[in-house]
Amino acid sequence: MRQATVYSETVIHSAPEQFAADAPYQIALVEFVDQSRLLVRISGLRVQIGDRVQEIENPAIHPTFEVIK
């Protein structure tokens, strides 16, 4: 699965109506090795700028990444 580095992130407490049940949840702008970026959901542990993350398979929200332990 794709790996990337967290370029920025936020934890959303005030969610839009469609995702109200998920709150609080984290999203991140991640950067790939070719320097392209993608906005993703973060699953599991909270991440910070500079953390390495990888994509998880068959997520409920696509795309979702998690921290590489």
């Binding site: 936020t10 959303i12 407490h13 839009p16 109506e17 109200a20 991140a28 993608l38 906005l39």
Partner: protein, 379 residues
Amino acid sequence: MRSVYVAGIGKTAFGAFASRTLKDLALESIQSCLYDAARDKEELEAVYVGNFDSPSFTNQNHLAPYIAGAAGIQDVPATRFEAACASGGSALFHAFHAVQSGIYSNVLVCGVEKMTSQSTARVAQILAGAGDAELESAIGATFPAIFAMIARRHMYQYGTTREHLAHVAVKNHYNASLNPQAHLKKVITVEQALAGKPICEPLTIYDCSLVSDGAAALWISADPQTIRIAACAQASGPVSLAGKPDITTLNATRLAAAKAYKAAGITAQQIDLAEVHDCFTIAELIAMEDLGFIAAGESGPWVASGATGISGNLPVNTSGGLKAKGHPIGATGVAQVCDLILQMRNQAGPRQVAKADTGLAQNLGGSGATSVVTILQRK
């Protein structure tokens, strides 16, 4: 190219007005503008309406002829402009060019939004429509989330702090307390701002602008007046955050500012006061840098020093800004110009600044997909 002037201004109070309709708000701003201009509406040759999403907020579409007709401005072309939170600025930009190029000599610009009849979660959903539906809204990103990520990165790259952001909120709340037309008139402290309810980390409720109802109008004219629009420039940038090479700067604002300064024949250092798009506190800090008032990365300590207060070197958002005056989206870009003109006419009451000969307004759409910069000069 002809010189372009503002012949009249009109603005409603901003706030949450359960009993007032979109049409009612627009009409009040137009009638107030016609009264201020002391001219006959029969002279108007076109109507430019700035509005973000009346179809979603109020189920009313085809807004421009709806409003113009209600105001008794019959038969002339009436068109709505949508550029997210820069809808009002974009309507002004197009009106300015029509008069400057000689197509029309007298036009009306009206910005309006009626937002408070919807729940907060529904408003967040509607506003998210100004981002990239496929890449951003679909994973649950909101506008506060987009600007929260911009803030995090600005903090990471430049050492900007939550206290710096709080100083923007404290200043704008104080300024709004002096503005009888502001939505909130509640003075706050840095400690209160920092302890606010988290919205999208690191932003709290005090870092976010308000959901408001309101309208504003301008009579734009080729006939010489005291206030001249020296320049009005619009530029575009990527809609999605992922498309920006550096998210700590909004290139559309840099481009629009460069065009506007060139057209006006001035530099950033010649601006006496500004109304900028503080949809979030971080947006005001970044605007200081993108408009050339201060170097990249240095806005936090500069604003915290008081430089942009009413008695500072460069007063910014003396109206209270989107943060506390309120942010009825389509009205905002038009209202910013009305507020500058109140200062330039020495009609700003207790928030009056010492020198207001040259003013700048900056109106942002989305996370920088549209930016409009307007420069006003007094004769």
